[in-house]
């Protein structure tokens, strides 16, 4: 495997010195403009110049032959953990954004559960500055809803927004107190940025290790019932109606949660939701490894399967795919959660939750497409224009004049997930040794190639 990358200057305004790039003969999928056909894409001065058939090669520019490949807006992730500051042994902004580039992502929003939490303007600015200095892709920080993510006092949302926070979340922890959640939603009307909720009723999930059900019963692990998520989603939808604020539900994992989001949308509330590649494609029988599934290569209790919310069942993942298709779930978000080896190579109950998946997300979603459960253009929309719309980010489109953030991927290329080859410091994936079909070959940010496979 050979991967080449150059790190662009990540200024607020792009340098504009990127040499012209012609991406020729690929299947261009740009859902925001309803484009899906074989044509050329010309990038000039870090912007999309033109998208049509028969474009000529620009002087001094580079031509990328995209015959048989898909050319799409760079992927947009609303939910990634970059771990810096505080947990640099798990991931840094540099390693996480390098991994993102390898996964086809050009824009990501990073969660504030760092140490210290992103609950001050200084912390938000640190992330933006570090991303500019060391990052490979665009990074938008998400600020904390409450100080220290403790759920007691609101963080200074207005100042955080001024510093560049695009949304607010206590992700990893739920804002459990109903009055505090109401305040957060109401107060967010000042800055008009979404409140992103990690929906988990901790009284129902205390000590829980995996989805409640037969697999947990067999393994003797405490179950995390679906209702632990659904009671919070239901409550938050009511509070969204009360306040008129924008509620974004993170990592939806159950069929039941979808119904509350669907009803909220039918009532015209500003409620959006995301689903992760793992909840869309993996199920809780993986925790039992080869006991439960003849094809599983994992040993029982492999902590790479531990994630919060936990992997659910086939019915849940099928419902998530259907809801992503019908728009009830707005977008895919990775919840990329890298961890160090010792965080995962231990007793299941002691292991950290999370999957390092920003490099596998595209392949996982393409498996849904290959299975005939979603169209390719729809899949691209759920990873580009639709997430960009949820947070109002200037990304996810190949419109003329848009920043030249592009992914070129081979939807057919088979590759084996080898954690040691991953750019992320987090090698924690239950897909190790699995084959995925579909991989990013080129990722361009502002017209510059940041990843080439």
């Amino acid at each position: 495997m050979v991967a080449v990358a150059t790190k662009p200057l990540m200024g607020d305004t792009r340098s504009g010195h990127a040499a012209p790039v012609l991406i020729r003969g690929g299947r261009v999928v740009d859902p925001a403009n309803g484009i899906d056909g074989v044509m050329d894409v010309l990038l000039v001065d870090g912007k999309v110049a033109e998208v049509r058939q028969g474009l000529g090669i620009p002087a001094g520019g580079r031509t990328i032959d995209a015959d048989g490949l898909v050319v799409a807006p760079g992927l947009v992730d609303l939910h990634a953990h970059l771990r810096e500051p505080g947990f640099e042994y798990k991931e840094t902004i540099e390693s996480g954004t390098r991994a993102a580039a390898a996964g086809g992502y050009t824009t990501l929003c990073c969660m504030p559960n760092t140490e210290p939490a992103l609950d001050t303007a200084a912390a938000v600015e640190f992330v933006r500055r570090t991303a500019k200095a060391t990052g490979y892709v665009r990074v938008y920080p998400i600020g904390a809803i409450t100080k220290g993510r403790k759920g007691k006092q609101l963080a200074e949302m207005a100042e955080l927004a001024e510093a560049g926070a695009v949304a607010f979340s206590d992700d990893g922890d739920c804002v459990e107190n109903s009055a505090m959640m109401r305040s957060a939603l109401e107060y967010s009307l000042i800055v008009r940025r979404p409140i992103v909720q990690h929906a988990e009723d901790k009284a129902l999930t205390a000590g829980a290790q995996m989805n409640e059900g037969p697999v947990a019963a067999r393994l003797g692990l405490k179950g995390w019932p679906r209702q632990g998520e659904e009671v919070i989603v239901a409550r938050d939808v009511l509070l969204a109606e009360l306040t008129g604020a924008h509620l974004h539900v993170a990592h939806l994992s159950t069929a039941g949660s979808i119904e509350y989001v669907r009803r909220a949308k039918q009532r015209g509330l500003r409620v959006t939701a995301e689903a992760t590649p793992h909840h869309l494609t993996l199920t809780d029988d993986l925790v039992a490894g080869h006991w439960w599934s003849a094809t599983a290569s994992l040993a029982p209790y492999d902590a790479s399967t531990k994630v919060n919310p936990p992997l659910r069942t086939n019915e849940d993942s099928a419902a998530l795919v259907a809801a992503l298709n019908d728009g009830t779930i707005d977008c895919v978000a990775t919840d990329h959660a890298p961890h160090g080896v010792s965080d995962k190579h231990c007793e299941y109950a002691l292991a950290a939750s999370g999957i390092s998946n920003i490099e596998t997300a595209l392949g996982q979603l393409l498996s849904v497409v290959h299975a005939g459960k979603m169209g390719l253009a729809e899949m691209v929309a759920t990873m580009t224009s639709r997430p960009a719309a949820v947070f109002g980010l200037p990304a996810g489109t190949l419109s003329a004049g848009a920043t030249a953030d592009v992914v070129i991927f081979d939807p057919e290329r088979e590759w084996c997930v080898d954690p040691q080859q991953m750019f992320s410091k987090g090698k924690n994936t239950p897909l190790a040794g699995h084959f995925l079909r579909g991989q990013a070959l080129f990722t361009l940010v502002g017209g510059e190639v940041v990843h080439e496979h």
């Binding site: 409640e212 037969p214 697999v215 003797g220 692990l221 019932p225 209790y301 007793e347 002691l350």
Partner: protein, 330 residues
């Protein structure tokens, strides 16, 4: 025995279970001799690694190993490097480097022995992990019932109490159903693992049936019943599980008084079971709470024999794991 480790009974075939039980018959005969020591594990080092308090299981393993002439080293969490923050994986690697031939592990977290087994070339025997499994308890329970009733086939076994938190119940279920018995789980709904019937049915299906016996043809191999008076009807075996006071504090049942009213094995309830039904308990007992003293020490009780049989079964298991054959006399 063609396996490195014994981590649960869920992957044991009926033939394998029978091999262990048959071998345990010979071992029980050894235990009846004036000199109980036989030589098969001479020169082998067995490490007893207990991360949780235990009397009967730890001593039972130690005696079993010594009866087979092995050298035994005991490690407990307190007084070892665990107190200095050594991880389980590090401890396993250390035991590997020290040359242990067999490691017995008791651990508070479900699945911990699987982690250890992956790190070690030595045989690993699970002596109880979290809520998950206690395979040697399962084997000694099977041995005790088979010895008393001749066969498990078609027998009705009632397990009463806190199944949710019970590794004994989980291992017993696999053992009993694999040998053709039907298991009824009885206790308050708050102490039943959600989905347990599906879990066992699915596990048995993947194993290829429950030992080829008739029990599951008409009935589910495992079912749950909340009413003990109904559950014990026609039972061949009634086993009480230990109830822990901390479950009351967690809001899972109102009081020991009410628990006892509904789920204590009393003479009146045992009288509803089959004539001569066996009364069992994995110990340690809360007398007067989950089992009445007169039942615990009554004629139908085999609770003390369970403890004795535990040594024989553990000897058989270690002997077979070390490469011994069940058809050879010791």
């Amino acid at each position: 025995m063609r396996r490195k480790d014994v981590l649960d009974l869920d992957d044991f075939s009926a033939e394998e279970l029978t091999e262990v039980l048959d071998s345990a018959v010979s071992m029980k005969e050894v235990l009846a001799r004036p000199i109980k020591r036989v030589p098969p594990l001479r020169g082998k080092t067995i490490v007893n690694c207990f991360y949780e308090a235990s009397t009967r299981t730890r001593v039972s393993f130690e005696l079993a190993a010594k009866n087979l002439s092995a050298d035994v080293v005991n490690i407990t969490a307190s007084g070892s490097s665990v107190e200095k923050g050594e991880t389980l994986v590090d401890t396993a690697r250390t035991l590997q480097a020290l040359g242990a031939d067999m490691v017995i592990i008791r651990h508070p977290h479900s699945g911990a022995p699987y982690l250890v087994a992956r790190e070690l070339d030595a045989c690993v025997i699970n002596a109880g992990d979290g809520w998950h499994a206690h395979p040697t308890q399962g084997l000694l329970d099977l041995f005790t019932v088979r010895e008393k009733l001749g066969s498990l086939d078609g027998k009705k076994i009632v397990i009463v109490g806190d199944v949710l938190h019970s590794r004994v119940a989980r291992s017993d279920i696999w053992g009993f159903t694999t040998l053709g018995a039907q298991v009824v789980l009885c206790g308050p709904p708050t102490l039943m693992p959600p989905g347990i019937e599906t879990a066992i049915a699915e596990g048995l299906r993947r194993k290829g049936g429950n030992g080829g016996n008739g029990a599951t043809k008409e009935h589910a191999a495992v079912r749950v019943q909340y009413d003990l008076d109904k559950a014990v009807e026609d039972a061949d075996v009634v086993m009480a599980l230990r109830i822990q006071k901390e479950r009351q504090d967690a809001g899972l049942f109102p009081s020991l008084r009410e628990y006892s009213r509904l789920y204590c094995l009393t003479r009146a309830r045992i009288a509803r079971a089959k004539f001569g039904a066996l009364v069992m308990h994995p110990g340690p007992m809360n007398e007067g709470i989950e089992i009445a003293p007169d039942v615990a020490y009554g004629v139908q009780s085999v609770i003390e024999e369970q403890v004795t049989n535990g040594v024989a079964v553990r000897m058989a298991l270690m002997y077979l794991l070390a490469g011994g054959r069940s058809d050879l006399a010791v």
